[in-house]
Symmetry: C2
């Protein structure tokens, strides 16, 4: 099915990301949905939407599971079929993939996909513990391996094998904060200098505070339609042309190589093939920079540069807005923020804006082909999607 | 698409249900998968299975989320794309529905769907609290509305409006224990008398201990294939002809009527229409008897009898094995047990056995059309599937 649109993105919405005190997850999702509905006046949500797929990682944070009907109810869309998907930080990337399958199956013409997380009300130690639920309980969590520690192992290995420097990691943070400063919905809309990044306190050596993404609240959504119905809802649809997903060991200790995430390689290969494109065709990408080292690994694993050259790739400026392959123009998880369940579809929201020329001060010029890359845990899940703004 | 097979069930597996001390959820799921793989020697799981959808309600019970890759890893099936679905006790019913969509989308020829839960190691109060996560946090959970209390309200309303008696509720328990006594995998394989049921201690009046389903460990799975590939894997496939799903308010207080679950009515209507059948065509059904009153509501909402007559319907013997529409021949959640994430697909496992003549001492004669009905929470989710043993 190379080169055929799987579904059209006919609208998209995003809440502000940050510390959203006074709102519950259900209310934050409604903010994102309202934007998507307002953007698409030809859509009658109650009549047209046939299914809801929602990514939500942690039921513990608000003592509330059953997120599917919770959200359907809060949006006034009952009896809309609704389900929660969880694959750690890739939860809404997989909501998108399941939404695509619903469209392609013929069971639904229009679906709502999205994600939500509320976590800033937690003590940091509690949030860190809940996030660690996506690592292996018996062989990682109980031994103190939180996510900064797990990604620190990857950073050490990459630095050892490829001479990647701590400054390279810091450059990812500087770039993403530069972009996020131009995103009015970003959690931290502030530039930082290389010196500030290098001087931030150590979290899990060699990762410092500025190497870690943010603990944020937020929600995201997309409205997907069958490609042939897209023009009924919008003059500027974006089309999903490729989807790829892969799993790897639940424990990092069981992997052959800490300097590459095999799930990213495999998911990208599948998505590229389905879309009939290659890495060099991508004009703009949102990748899962949960830690700065992760973005460097993804450059390599997605084929944007050769293995081992990720550090020098960011140093070259290639991934800046205006570079050859701008990465995380939104600010990424590092600056825009990382409400985990919302992140995958928030990436797709940014690509939707970029491919329809609505990204304002952070607009990538002449962007026609986009990519999102969403990771679950330390790469036990990866899901990649490829988008084009022409059918 | 009335009357067209959506997918074929080419194999199925079920762990024993009960208190499975010494096994983690991942290991229990592997027991179910092993049965499904052993039953299907023509299947090469690593080569043929293209996606895994797994229902799992509670990440808190083993402090372990990210169930999708966890299970893929434990089965030795990496890099199999895998995702967890959660919709309370309907989690694996929705894993089945998403698996169908994956097959119908053309993205996968063969998928593994299933569910798992491990909860008997918890204190009862903790299990009750975790289960209550699927009710509304702010308006139900904090006010002490556990699930027995919520279903007790429905029982009271039904008794008041339709003269249903406590004995009618007890008759559901007696029937399901009679069936479960013939199921070698059931949690409690023991018959009970009406007197014993009536004399059991009150949990939430009018519901007594014998009106409540069990807190169990267990896992279930199905292997689904494109209908045209079914005969490659088995001589006796069962086909899924209809799927239906609906959502309702997350809070019970917001409903117009406590004596009917609107989600069941709507999901059944959709599944019947898709399959081109009506309630009278169903030869054998597994319905969500989380409480005895629930089974009585479902008789009515699924169209097996008229509204208000559910109590007298069970009294008539119609839903016994050998009756006009045998319900919960497996023993149901009441006697077979209720490992919540596994329940939806465990129902489908029973229908697979029944429609292929493998149900041994509890076999329903001449069963050709089957139905499963899986509920999430107090009916905020319902999902119904219709099966036939001919294409």
């Amino acid at each position: 099915m190379a080169g055929r649109a799987l579904a059209a993105v006919v609208s998209a919405g995003l809440s502000r990301f940050g510390k959203l005190d006074g709102f519950y997850a259900r209310e934050i999702f409604a903010q994102a949905a309202k934007e998507a509905f307002d953007r698409c006046p030809n859509l009658n949500p109650k009549r047209d939407i046939k299914s809801l797929f929602i990514g939500h990682m942690m039921e513990s944070t608000e003592h509330q599971g059953h997120t599917g009907p919770l959200i359907a109810d809060w949006l006034g869309l009952n009896p809309l079929p609704a389900v929660r998907l969880e694959s750690a930080c890739a939860s809404s990337g997989l909501a998108l993939r399941c939404g695509l399958q619903a469209i392609m199956s013929g069971l639904a013409d229009v679906v709502l996909v999205g994600g939500v997380e509320k976590q800033t009300h937690l003590a940091t130690a509690d949030a860190t513990e809940y996030l660690a639920l996506s690592a292996d309980n018996f062989f990682e969590q109980w031994h103190g391996f939180t996510f900064p520690a797990l990604f620190a192992l990857m950073a050490r290995a990459h630095m050892h094998k490829y001479k990647t420097k701590e400054e390279h990691l810091a450059m990812v943070a500087v770039k993403n904060h530069r972009n996020g400063a131009k995103n009015p919905k970003a959690h931290i809309q502030k530039e930082i200098t290389l010196e500030q990044a290098m001087a931030s306190r150590v979290v899990a050596s060699p990762l410092k505070l500025c190497d870690c993404s943010l603990i944020s609240d937020g929600a995201s959504c997309l409205i997907l339609a069958k490609p042939e119905l897209a023009k009924r809802y919008t003059d500027d649809p974006v089309y999903v042309f490729g989807t790829g997903q892969a799993s790897d060991t639940i424990g990092l200790y069981a992997r052959d190589d800490l300097t590459s995430l095999r799930t990213t390689v495999l998911a990208a290969r599948e998505a590229y093939k389905m879309a009939g494109v290659d890495a060099k065709d991508i004009d703009v990408a949102e990748v899962h920079d949960c830690f700065t080292i992760a973005e460097i690994l993804h450059y390599e694993d997605l084929g944007f540069c050769r293995k081992g050259e990720g550090g020098r790739f960011v140093e070259s400026g290639a991934t800046e807005i205006g570079g050859t392959i701008p990465v995380n123009a939104s600010g990424g998880l590092k600056s825009k923020g990382h409400p985990v369940g919302a992140t995958g579809v928030a990436q797709a929201y940014e690509i939707y804006l970029q491919l329809t020329g609505q990204a304002e001060r952070r607009q990538v010029q002449c962007a026609e082909v986009g990519l999102t890359h969403n990771l679950g845990g330390h790469g036990s899940t990866a899901v990649v999607h490829v988008y084009k703004n022409t059918e």
